[in-house]
Symmetry: C2
Subunit: 359 residues, 2 copies
């Protein structure tokens, strides 16, 4: 049976990438060792990390003003590192559009003031707070947003602008490289790799180089951005295999036509699923139409019992991991770059059948 994995992350990776990594798993480029057995200081690994960085720079169109860092600890570690490095007792604005953004704001309170500029928490994060209603702090240290909300299933359709002089910071864990965006409007953006970029165990952090100067001497070595900049992300042993996989995944994105091509197919995949949801009188999307995520499509049947039945029967049919996040329940289909259109078509066919049988 063909299996499609709709997990929210760690998530499916492109089959071609997985097969290539498997093929050279025990013998990378004739070295006699697998990538994960090779010294990060040796002749094989430096080109691997350089290649991953070059791919990222090319795919995201990064100028030399930006540094590219590979840091352990996932996006959650960035929730702490951002204020540790950039807040210094000042005030930062956070737009609270989901549970992950709220977690980010919580960490900032340890290093200064986290102003919640806007929040959709009261309506269970069913929309992105309208930019016209954000209450921004003049001269804020930065403005933090979450570009796509993995749990609630919402996404900024247009990325905002920060006021002049205020660095815009975005957690892009669940939609990086899924659509074209202008990196130049950001001071910093970051993403845990395990959705669109590779396996878990590494986060990509892209930052305007000049921001590194803000960090105080009181920040530990491994938590300072400057440590990663000055040592090419190799002050200590980096997560070498995860970075290698990130290189392979970005090779695949390039071969498929780059981020613009990803965006086109992602739009088509999401459109197919939302069109079905809009037509259905059984399945429903709980989020505002204008803010629907093209990465995490959240939906519900008429009852919790039918949600559970749907998830179980879908799994038996080879459509796995459709359960909603444990905080909100319901169902969720994560359709990142690596999910082919065939997977979405198979899901829609199954949903049609389930609706007929259970209406």
């Amino acid at each position: 049976m063909k299996i499609y994995n709709f997990a929210a992350g760690p998530a499916m990776l492109p089959k071609e990438v997985m097969l290539k990594a498997q093929e050279e798993f025990v013998n990378f480029q004739g070295s006699g060792s697998g990538v994960m057995e090779l010294s990060h200081r040796g002749k094989y690994f430096q080109p691997v990390i350089d290649h991953a960085e070059a791919n990222i720079r090319e795919l995201l169109g990064l100028s030399d003003d930006f540094v590219v860092m590979f840091i352990q600890g996932g996006a959650s570690m960035q929730f702490a590192m951002i204020p540790m490095n950039l807040l210094n007792g000042g005030t930062a604005d956070y737009v609270d559009s989901g549970v992950w953004g709220a977690k980010a704001a919580k960490e900032a309170k340890l290093y200064g003031t986290a102003n919640i500029a806007a929040s959709s928490k009261e309506s269970k994060y069913d929309h992105i707070p309208a930019q016209s209603e954000w209450k921004l702090t003049p001269g804020a240290a930065y403005l933090h947003i979450t570009s796509n909300n993995t749990v609630a299933g919402t996404q900024y359709q247009t990325l905002p602008e920060a006021p002049a002089g205020v660095p815009l910071i975005a957690d892009m864990s669940s939609d990086i490289m899924s659509r074209v965006f202008d990196a130049n409007k950001f001071g910093l953006f970051y993403a845990g790799a395990q959705k669109n970029l590779g396996p878990s165990g590494v986060a990509l952090v892209v930052m305007k180089k000049e921001l590194a100067e803000r960090t105080s001497d009181k920040v530990p070595t491994m938590l300072r951005y400057s440590t990663y900049i000055e040592n090419g992300s190799m002050f200590n042993t980096p997560p070498t295999f995860a970075i290698y996989m990130l290189g392979l995944v970005t090779d695949w994105v390039k071969a498929k036509g780059g981020v613009a091509a990803m965006e086109e197919i992602n739009n088509a995949k999401a459109a197919k699923l939302y069109a079905f949801l809009d037509d259905s009188s059984f399945f429903k999307s709980p989020v505002a139409k204008a803010d629907r995520s093209r990465m995490n499509v959240v939906f519900r049947t008429p009852s919790d019992e039918l949600d559970a039945k749907f998830v179980a029967e879908a799994k038996a049919a080879g459509l796995t991991d459709l359960k909603g996040h444990r905080l909100v329940g319901g169902c969720r289909a994560s359709i990142y770059n690596a999910m082919p259109m065939e997977g979405v078509e198979a899901l829609v066919e199954f949903m049609k059948k389930f609706e007929l049988e259970n209406k």
Copy 2:
């Protein structure tokens, strides 16, 4: 040509482990997905992390007083997390037996006083400071040692005792699971996985549970030990593939007879190499005989030029990564658990030949 990789870390892993991971790389237990594509909250991964922890508990003989944590950032992140969680403005004693221990002490200064209880820095870390000469602080927050010094090639032959009431902390990155030791004498010990446990990207941290109570509210979530304890190391997405590999490596250690069996073969491997060095009038070990490492055997030829020639010719003969650490030069053979006796025998044969040709 048979290749033996003597890298100091990331280092070679047992061949059986690499082949098993390769075999199930794209389809773990019939799930249709590779381990790295599976949700950490799903039914496949929880048993993987539970299994790794159970293996570690069994192999190290850990009582229920200890918690086992899997944390990203390597041993270097522990250099910061230990004082962040346990120092609280007090004084900690550090024994400075190598560059990594010195780095650990440096981070502690951000959170209190780091007393260098003893140091062998002036003699280029060629020995472990004698325990009789340590200047310990009464009532210290903890006593920190480095059980094996990867760069200098020294190792505690007998692990010390801390004064009553002072937690003993050890960085065991390069010798954990290589010899039997009594975990009960420690408050905390930790190890980056990439030498004896698995690939880079995860550190094993074992701690007496009661120490978690020391952490102040000012420590960020991802840097608090309690976060890992309360969430089974899954507050956020853990480095799933690295933890899976750690499970496979510890399966292999168990199949080979456990830590006592590892110690026996490690002793035989090191004895073979040191016996040759002692007999040679060409190769020399720069470290004190009483403190020689059984994991990282450091040696030199009569000149820097011959060191370089040796490393290059050994590599051409399939004996790779014998260059000493960039801070000290010379040569180094890292012979962790996964290096078979055959690799050490091949190295000694090659050294004999090189000596004859270059004396």
